[in-house]
Amino acid sequence: MKTTLIDSPVANVANIARALRTAGAELEVTSDPIAIANAEKLVLPGVGSFIAAMHWLTTNGIDDAIRDAVKRGTTLLGVCVGHQLLFDISHEMGSTRGLGLVNGEVRKFDGILPVPQIGWNRVAARGPLFEGVEDGIFYFVNSYAAVNAPDETASADYGGPFTAAVQRDRVFGVQFHPEKSSAAGLRVLRNFIAWT
C-alpha cells in the first residue's frame, strides 16, 4: 500500500520521508489536494507554529482534502505539529481551530521546566502504533501539547502529564519526532505502515 506524505513548507519533510522509506514505505510526496483526498495512507508532518501550519492547510484546500480522505477511510498519521493540527483547537497565541479529527485542545507547557522541551522522554503507550515500544523513549521538541486528551494512547511527563500520542479510529498522532527517535521511532513508523 502506498503512503502519501504531505509536502508542507512548514515541516522537515526530507527527514520524515527518509525515515518512512527506511521503515518500508512506498512513498509519494505531494501537496496536491486531489492526490491527498485519494490517498490510502497519509502522513501530515509539521514543525514550528500551529497557526502558520493551519494557515497553509486552509489556503491550499488541504484541510478539506485531509477530512475527505479520513471520511473515505484513509489512515492518517500526524507528526509533531501535524499531530497538534488533528485537535479541535490550539491556544498558541490566541485560539486557532484545528482539523477537529481528534478531541481535545493544545496548550502551552506551564513553564515549570524549560520551554520548549528539547530531548528524549519516556512514554507510557498502548495501541497498534506502539507494539514492541510500549514504554519507548522518543525525541520531543515542543512548547505545546494536549493534556489528558480523550483519544490519548500515550502519555509522558514534562512538569506534569501530557498527551504523547492519540488514536481515534483510523486517525493517529504522535507529538514526538519518530524520524529522530532512532530504532523506537522507526518501529512506530513500521507499525503505522503495516497497520490495516
Partner: protein, 488 residues
C-alpha cells in the same frame, strides 16, 4: 523523594548561620512572610530548627510551630532535644515529628524513652557527619560512636528515618556529599541535608537508592532553587534520560581528534562513525567543523548532508558559524541544531536573531571556558584567544537571548582525560534553567557520572575517548544506569 524546605528559627525570625556560627547570622524575616515568598503549598513537609534551643537546651520557638501547624504543614521540629519533656513540648505545639540529634548519637537510652512514649513514626534521628565522623553538641565535639553504629542503633529502635547532615559542606554552596549518601548501608529512609545549592543536587540525591528526602534551606531562601521546579524535576527524573553524545571533530570531510585543540590526527569517515555511534546508543551526535573557513564551507555542508542522511538521531553542528545565513545553510543541509561560538561573543544579537528565525530549539551556544584567576573566561577562536568576557555570565546572558542549550567545554581539561571541570559545570548549571552539555576531560565512566550528578549536566560529550575505543557508549550508559542515572 520528598523535597523539604528547612527553616532555622532564631528570635522569632527565619535565619541562617554560616557554618553554625551564631556571630554570622543572615535574617530573612518572619516565618509566614518567608513561607509565602517560597510558595510552600499546604500538605508540604516542613523542617524547622530552633537554633536558640540547640544552644541553650530548652525549646524556645514553640509558638511559631503552633502558628505554622495551622497552615496544613507537616512539621518536623528539632534543635537541642535532650529529653522526653523537650520532645513532648514540640509535639504538643503541633509538630508531627521531632528531629533528635545529640541523644541519638550519644545517649541511646534517652532516645529509647522518647521512641517508646511518642511512637517510632514520630521520631527522626538527626546525625551530623564531618569527614565520615559523627559530630554532636553543636558540632563542637566528636560523638562516642561511629556512623555505622549510630545508624544500626537507630534502626534497632524501630525508627524509620534518619536525617544525615554533612556539616563540612553545610551552607557553603559546594554541593552535597553524594559519595557519603551512596556509601550508606542501612534500611533507614535517609533525609539528606547540607550543601544542596542547585536543582540538579536535588535531582541527583533523588537518584540515590536509600535517600527518601532532602531538606533545602539557604538555596530556597536565596532563590537559587524554586520549590515547584525542584519537585517537578524530581517527579520526572526517571522519565527523562540524561544523554551521552559522541562528538566528531571534522576537518576537510574527515574525522580528526584534537588534544588541547592542537596536534590533530585523522580518525575516520564521519558517515561511518555516525552510523556506528547511533547503533551503539548515542542519543545525539555533535559535529564540530574545526577548520571552518569560507574556502571549505561547501565541504563542511556536504559532510553535514551526508551524515544527516545516515542518522535517525538529532544532529548538532558547529564551527565557523558567523551569520544567520551560515546558520540557515547548516539547517538546510540537515542539522537539527547549530552551535554558535566566536560570532555570538562578538555579536550577541546573532543568538536572538537565529532564535527568532529558526526557533530556540535550533540554537546551541558553544562556550569554551578557561580558568583565569578565580573565574572562568569565555574563549574565542577554538579556545586559543581570550574574549575578556566572563564565561558564566555569558552563558546566563545567552539563555536570555534565546539559546536552547549550552555546549560547555573546559579548555583546560580538553584532551587531558582527567575528568570534566565540575566547578565550571556547577557555576553554569546553577544559573541557567536550560540544559548544559558537559565537554572536555572525560577519561573514565566515573567522570560521566560526576558531570551529571555533581556538575548538573544534562548531557555528557566525549570525542577521542570513544574514537579510540577506550570506552564505548554502552560502557558509559551501563555504568550510569547502575548509579541510578536514567539513560535511554
Amino acid at each position: 523523594m520528598d523535597v523539604i524546605p528547612s527553616l532555622d528559627l532564631l528570635g522569632g525570625n527565619i535565619v541562617r548561620l554560616l557554618r553554625g556560627d551564631f556571630a554570622n547570622v543572615t535574617t530573612y524575616g518572619d516565618p509566614e512572610t518567608v513561607l509565602d515568598s517560597l510558595d510552600v503549598p499546604r500538605g508540604s513537609r516542613l523542617h524547622v530548627v530552633d537554633l536558640e534551643a540547640s544552644r541553650s537546651g530548652y525549646p524556645v520557638e514553640t509558638n511559631i510551630v503552633q502558628r505554622l501547624a495551622t497552615r496544613g504543614l507537616h512539621i518536623q521540629a528539632g534543635g537541642g532535644i535532650r529529653s522526653l519533656d523537650d520532645a513532648r513540648t514540640w509535639i504538643d505545639a503541633g509538630a508531627e515529628k521531632v528531629v533528635i540529634g545529640t541523644v541519638a548519637a550519644d545517649a541511646p537510652e534517652v532516645l529509647r524513652t522518647i521512641v517508646e512514649d511518642l511512637g517510632e513514626d514520630r521520631v527522626i534521628a538527626a546525625i551530623d557527619v564531618r569527614d565520615g565522623i559523627v559530630r554532636v553538641g553543636g558540632w563542637e565535639r566528636d560523638a562516642k560512636s561511629s556512623l555505622a553504629e549510630v545508624l544500626r542503633r537507630v534502626e534497632e529502635l524501630g525508627i524509620g528515618e534518619a536525617l544525615i547532615t554533612d556539616i563540612s559542606k553545610d551552607g557553603a554552596m559546594r554541593g552535597p556529599s553524594f559519595a557519603l549518601y551512596r556509601s550508606l548501608r542501612t534500611n533507614l529512609r535517609i533525609i539528606a541535608s547540607g550543601g544542596v545549592s542547585a536543582i540538579s543536587d536535588v535531582v541527583s540525591l533523588g537518584r540515590i537508592a536509600n535517600v527518601s528526602g532532602c531538606v533545602i534551606g539557604r538555596a530556597l531562601l536565596d532563590g537559587r532553587i524554586r520549590l515547584a521546579e525542584a519537585r517537578a524535576r524530581v517527579a520526572t527524573t526517571n522519565a527523562i534520560p540524561e544523554r551521552v553524545i559522541p562528538c566528531l571533530d571534522v576537518r576537510d570531510g574527515r574525522v580528526v581528534k584534537g588534544v588541547n585543540f592542537v596536534d590533530i590526527r585523522d580518525a575516520g569517515d564521519p558517515v561511518e562513525c555516525a552510523m556506528i555511534y547511533e547503533h551503539a546508543g548515542a542519543d545525539e551526535l555533535v559535529i564540530l567543523d574545526i577548520s571552518a573557513t569560507d574556502a571549505n564551507r561547501n565541504t563542511a555542508l556536504e559532510t553535514v548532508r551526508r551524515v544527516s542522511e545516515s542518522l535517525f538521531i538529532p544532529l548538532t553542528v558547529g564551527g565557523g558559524v558567523r551569520t544567520i545565513e551560515d546558520f540557515r545553510a547548516l539547517l538546510r543541509a540537515g542539522a537539527d541544531r547549530v552551535a554558535i561560538n566566536t560570532a555570538a561573543l562578538r555579536n550577541p544579537q546573532l543568538i536572538a536573531d537565529c532564535a527568532r528565525e529558526f526557533g530556540v530549539q535550533a540554537v546551541v551556544l558553544s562556550c569554551d571556558a578557561k580558568r583565569t584567576g578565580d573565574h572562568f573566561e569565555a574563549m574565542v577562536r577554538s579556545g586559543k584567544e581570550s574574549s575578556g568576557v566572563d564565561a558564566v555570565e555569558w552563558c546566563r546572558r545567552a539563555e536570555e537571548l534565546g539559546t536552547g542549550e549550552i555546549l560547555l567545554t573546559s579548555v583546560d581539561r580538553d584532551g587531558t582525560n582527567s575528568g570534566y571541570d565540575i566547578e565550571l559545570l556547577r557555576a553554569v548549571t546553577g544559573v541557567v534553567k536550560i540544559g548544559v552539555i558537559a565537554s572536555g576531560g572525560a577519561g573514565s565512566v566515573e567522570h560521566f557520572r560526576d558531570a551529571i550528578e555533581s556538575g548538573g549536566a544534562r548531557a555528557v560529550l566525549a570525542a577521542s575517548l570513544f574514537h579510540d575505543r577506550r570506552l564505548s557508549i554502552g560502557d558509559v550508559k551501563h555504568f550510569l544506569a547502575n548509579e541510578g542515572i536514567p539513560v535511554r
